[in-house]
């Protein structure tokens, strides 16, 4: 579904991504793990068109999308749940969700949008309870649910989530992750960036390990969970760099 080949992204003189190649197959949950600054978020922003890559190819459903503008990329079926949620605080929960479907209002009958809205409420009943509440008054976990719900409202084929469990209590992390699993079971393809490597890998089918802008390891999630380097660098107490 998504194929990235030799992607290079730079911020001025700093190279954030060096020759990244990866793919996400239809129906898969793929996770990216790596320390802060490894390039995980840059990769997502590059795919989304929010950062223009300097070189390389990004193919979505076999069509090149590198260099395209974010609205077009959303229209093709990729949604991003950005790090730090970035929901619209002064708007209500429901308004936030409707904005997620902004591009669909002109093209699709309202019923299908409301149907998806119901689906989001089913997935996160808490949001339904607070549908008239201003987003800024929600708790961290609820805000994250809203961010995921809003991305889902664009009816994506590929949902990308950047650190969905950041700053959440452990119980809420589980709620969010099991929601991701449900979405995947219903046919959504997922690319996930997650600090909590153990949780992410137990959810994902496959994973890639990024370090200083390069992919240094990949494999099936269960193999990565058992990998000595991954255990040392991302699962254990020892936070040394992978290549030290």
């Amino acid at each position: 579904m998504l194929v990235v080949k030799n992607l290079v992204t730079t911020y001025g003189p700093v190279t954030a991504l060096k020759n990244i190649s990866l793919h996400v197959g239809e129906g898969e949950i793929v996770c990216l793990i790596g320390a802060n600054g490894a390039g995980k978020s840059s990769l997502m922003l590059s795919i989304m068109g929010l950062v223009k890559p300097r070189a390389g190819e990004i193919l979505f459903e076999r069509q090149p999308i590198q260099g395209k503008d974010p609205p077009e990329i959303v229209a093709r079926g990729i949604s991003l749940v950005p790090e730090g949620r970035q929901i619209f605080y002064p708007l209500t929960v429901e308004e936030n969700l409707e904005l997620g479907a902004y591009q669909r209002f002109k093209k699709e009958p309202k019923e299908s949008i409301f149907h998806d809205l119901e689906q989001v409420y089913q997935l996160f009943p808490r949001l339904k309870e607070r549908r008239r509440q201003l987003a800024g008054t929600l708790s961290g976990g609820e805000q994250q649910m809203l961010a995921i719900g809003r991305a889902f409202m664009a009816k994506p084929k590929l949902l990308m989530l950047d650190e969905p469990s950041l700053g959440l209590a452990p119980r809420l992390v589980d709620t969010i992750l099991s929601a991701i699993k449900v979405l995947n079971k219903e046919g959504l393809t997922i690319l996930l960036v997650e600090q909590n490597a153990r949780k992410a890998l137990s959810l994902a089918h496959r994973g890639y390990v990024l370090e200083t802008g390069k992919i240094i390891l990949q494999g099936r999630a269960e193999d990565l969970l058992a990998d000595e380097d991954v255990r040392r660098a991302y699962l254990g107490k020892d936070y040394r760099k992978f290549t030290d």
């Binding site: 194929v3 080949k5 030799n6 060096k18 020759n19 190649s21 990866l22 793919h23 390069k214 992919i215 240094i216 390891l217 990949q218 494999g219 193999d223 058992a226 990998d227 000595e228 380097d229 290549t243």
Partner: protein, 424 residues
Amino acid sequence: MDNKIEFLSPEAWRQWQLELLQSTLNRVYERVPFYRQLMDEKAISPEDIKELEDIKKLPFTTREHLAQNYPYGLFAVPLRDIVRLHTFPGIKTPIVKGFTNRDLKVIRKLTARFLTSCGVTSEDIVQICLDPGMSVWIEELKEGAEEVGALVIPPDPQSVENRLQIMRDFKTSVLISTPSYLQYLTQIMHKHGLASPKNLRLAILVGEGIEMSSRLELEQHLGIDTRLGYGITEAIAAGMGYECEYREGYHLASDYFYAEIIDPLTGKPLPSGERGELVITTLAVKANPLIRFRTGDLTRLYNEPCMCGRTTPRLSQIEEHIDGRVSIRGIKISLQYIEALLEEVYGHVPEYLLYVKRHTQLEELELWLAINEQLFEPSILGLHQKALAFEKRFEEIFGLPCRLKFVEKDHLHETAKGRKVIKD
């Protein structure tokens, strides 16, 4: 057993292999000074590899490099991550190969896939009959068969009669052996007037190739099917290449290896179907990755799709070993090793001829030495003792007996006719 990956589209394979190649190079460049130096010398960084074909920019590696970097030089993980170390004879130093826990898991899966492709199931009783010289194979096959869930009988130092009895009494359905050992078993059965084991249905033959006529003869005689497997001990023994039901060459495990065929003299890549030296790059190995490793095996690579639907390229049976290695009962013996051993025992390398006798039931090895003055000892006993010492060392190293025979120079020349190895 999940083998969907063997049926990926060619396009998906290219992406899959490129990703694995890039991350392997990122790892070895960071972690193995030897590979970093090789790449720096050619002014190449891992980032220059943007297509699979770019692998040609990287230099070759050889068995010499493995020896030069003995003992710790080629590990791409900290030593504490290594949980198993296999050692096998090298020319000057032993060759070592380490495995992390993850490597072992990968190999188990790979070997299980090989066995499943051959038709082994959890219902089977798998008996392994291989010489101790193939210890790496034995280990991997045993674990792979366990992964499949079969009952496995690993080789113990048993007489051939005992092995046959176990085969009968435990109703072995799959035998894993070398072609020559299976021929030997057949002859023994014939000699003792034993009927073919009733339950045996499949023989998986590894370690060496076999001619079609001998293969059909064995199948007919024993009433079984046969499948061949290929591997090199330096990379992964079992599961690297294996036949499918159409038996048109070894399907390469492309999720773990990238193969090239080169002209052994010029190093230039050769097109699909042409005979040349096999060069292997491992794509998913953690402890001891190999980059463009020259195997010394002459073969052909076919990229055309196979009738079984697998999209992995196929290798033909190994036609020859170009680096002076001889395959005896599946064990690879290099003439360089023999010369080093002669040097060690006799202080020089006399003219010699390695005589592989095939007319006996099992391949037997004789090393003929042309008599010269340096070989002589003051007493016959001394001469005898030295010869014994050589034979003992030989067996220690290769796990195979070899008889030393002193012959007249002229006789050796007449028999050898310029060759160093004769298989008769």
